[in-house]
Every structure is written in structure tokens, then in C-alpha cells.
Symmetry: C2
Subunit: 199 residues, 2 copies
């Protein structure tokens, strides 16, 4: 069991976990706990703040089971980019989910909300916290897809390698399924490809 | 040998061919002739105007051996989207190449220039002429890559199926090579994926 305090937040890890557990299915909740475990491993390796990593990991899928109608309403009410209306839960639970998290959990920390925002599409402007959540979501111990070991090795070499591997893998998966691809996913790919000599 | 007149243009096919042959390597010229042959087959099948198909096919790679410096100069002089400067010959020879063709060959027909423009990235707004050139370039008789037969069968079912197959294949190829992908290629993919129920 992880023993972790949140000295800078007005709630404990136990209370946050309870709220997350109430909001999503047990299967998803188990995934969330595994993402937190992997994210903390990466945080230790790459020397990130455990507190924010834990919180961001625990809430990253908090809005995954929010209804399409609620997301559409938030997009309209908050005057977000109306192009978002063309997308679906796979994009909304991160990009729009951050507003659900802010409202229902009272988390207003911009770095945590950005990690939630970026965790599905990636971004060309990812912080290390964003990268840790993006990558941990992909390689947590329950993941079992062809290439997962290579993904884990990439993330062990560097966060940027982990991000590039995951972004490529996601693009290939979506194209083979003939699913739509969000322009930000391509932007992430192009950014990390252009900078791969530095990786 | 193809016997084709250009009643609406102030030059003959023979003169156009001579000019193209002077501008590019023999290997590329042979590819261009095969693209024209395939494009005319598709034009017959899908009932397009032979004249424009022939001209667009013959000029589609006219600017392929133009120097990077010349492309960069045109982008600046014509005040094209300056984002283009970040790309390379693979994009420029179509998107910017149309201006070289207009200037050097005196071809101002907007439909032909658009087919040249769209032949590398595709577009969500492709005319049938654009599609024929895009697809013929991919499946001409000299092409020999894994999947080329499937690509030819797609194009035989419909131009839209041909475009979707080619766009998917191009994306997969670029991702596996870790090469940058132009946003218009993704836009083409997303458009044809969204409309695939009609294909």
C-alpha cells in the first residue's frame, strides 16, 4: 500500500481515492491504481514531485464515464473550441474532463489539470508531469498488448522516448482501426519526431 | 502510344511531354508516363475529361527536381503560408510546384493546378480529377510494394476507396519511418474515415 501525504492539498489520498472509486467502474478504478503505481515509479526514476504525480494519476480517468451530453454542455458553457463537439469520449474525458475534476474534486492546480488534459492526445508542450501520466497510462502493469515490453523499455530510457513510442503506437492502432485521429496527436508525433535526435 | 489532343490548350501533348522530359530525370519521366496511362484508365472507368487528366498527370511531378532554395523563394515571394518553410521537397513539389508549372508551362487551369497541389498530401476537398492523379501516382504499373494489389482493387471499387487506402498506407509508411506527417494528410485521412460508410 502506498503511504503518501498531500501536504499542499486540502484532502488526503484516502479521501481522493474514495471519490474516484465512487465515480468509475471497479475495473477502471483498478487501472487507475496501477497507473498511479507506475507513475510513482517513473517519478522516482525521473525525480518528480510525488504528490502531484499521485493526484494526477488518480484523477486522470475521473471523467471517463461522464455522459456525452454532459461533455457537450461543458464545451458549450465554457466556450471551449467548438471543434471539440466533433470528437467523442476518448478525447473529451481528458480535454474536457479537467473541468469536471476541477468542479467536483476542487482541484485547481494547473499542472495537474494540464496532465489530465494532455493524457489522451499528448501535446507538443508537455511537462514532465504530463509525460509521466501519458506514459504510465500506456505501460501500467495490467497492459498486455504486442509491443508493451518495448514501450516499457523506451520509458526506461527516457520520458521523451516513452512519449514518442506511445504516440507512434497509438497512431498505428487508430489507422489500422480506421478511427479518427485528433490533430493534437499528430502535432505530438511531429514534435517528438523532429526532436528525436535529442532523445 | 497514346493519341490524345488538347483542344482547349495552346500546346500539343507532344510539346508538353518534351518540356516535362527536359525538366526531370529519365527514371522519373518514365514514372510520369505510367501515371498518365493509369490516370487515363481511371478516367475512362470513372468518366472524366481525358484532356485535363492527361495534362495533370504529365505535370504532377514537373517540379520534383526544383531546388529547395527555389521553393523557399516562391513561398516567400508569393506570401504563401510561411509554415510551409518547415516542410521539404516531398510537400513542396505539389503544393508549391503548381506555381512553377504555371510560370514555366503557362498552365493556369485551376483544376489542373489543384490536382498538382493535392497530389502529395491529399485534401478533404478533392475533385475527381485530384483523386485520379493522387491514386494513379500510387498504383501506376511500375509500383511494387506490399499491398499494391489491394490498392489497385480499392481504386477499382471506387475513387474514394482508392484515396482512403492510399492515405492510410502513406500514414503507416511515414510513422514506421518516423518521418513528419503534414496536417493535410491527416485531414484527408479523417475526412475519408468519417465518410467511409458512404464508400
Amino acid at each position: 500500500m502506498i503511504n503518501l501525504n498531500y501536504p499542499h492539498f486540502p484532502f488526503t489520498r484516502e479521501v481522493l481515492i474514495e471519490k474516484v472509486q465512487e465515480k468509475i467502474s471497479d475495473k477502471r478504478f483498478q487501472h487507475v491504481l496501477r497507473v498511479e503505481k507506475k507513475a510513482l515509479e517513473l517519478a522516482e526514476k525521473y525525480q518528480l514531485d510525488f504528490e502531484k504525480v499521485s493526484i494526477a494519476a488518480l484523477v486522470h480517468d475521473y471523467a471517463k464515464e461522464v455522459s456525452d451530453e454532459e461533455f457537450q454542455q461543458i464545451i458549450k458553457e465554457k466556450h471551449l473550441d467548438q471543434d471539440l463537439l466533433k470528437w467523442s469520449n476518448a478525447i473529451w474525458h481528458g480535454v474536457v474532463g479537467q473541468y469536471v475534476i476541477e468542479k467536483e474534486l476542487g482541484i485547481s492546480d494547473k499542472e495537474i489539470l494540464q496532465a489530465v488534459n494532455h493524457h489522451t492526445t499528448g501535446s507538443k508542450n508537455m511537462s514532465d508531469l504530463d509525460k509521466v501520466i501519458y506514459v504510465a497510462d500506456f505501460i501500467e502493469d495490467g497492459r498486455d498488448f504486442p509491443g508493451v515490453n518495448e514501450a516499457r523499455e523506451s520509458a526506461n530510457r527516457s520520458l521523451d522516448e516513452g512519449v514518442l513510442f506511445e504516440t507512434k503506437h497509438t497512431l498505428l492502432y487508430l489507422i489500422n482501426k480506421q478511427s479518427p485521429i485528433h490533430p493534437k496527436t499528430l502535432e505530438t508525433y511531429n514534435y517528438y519526431v523532429a526532436n528525436k535526435r535529442d532523445i
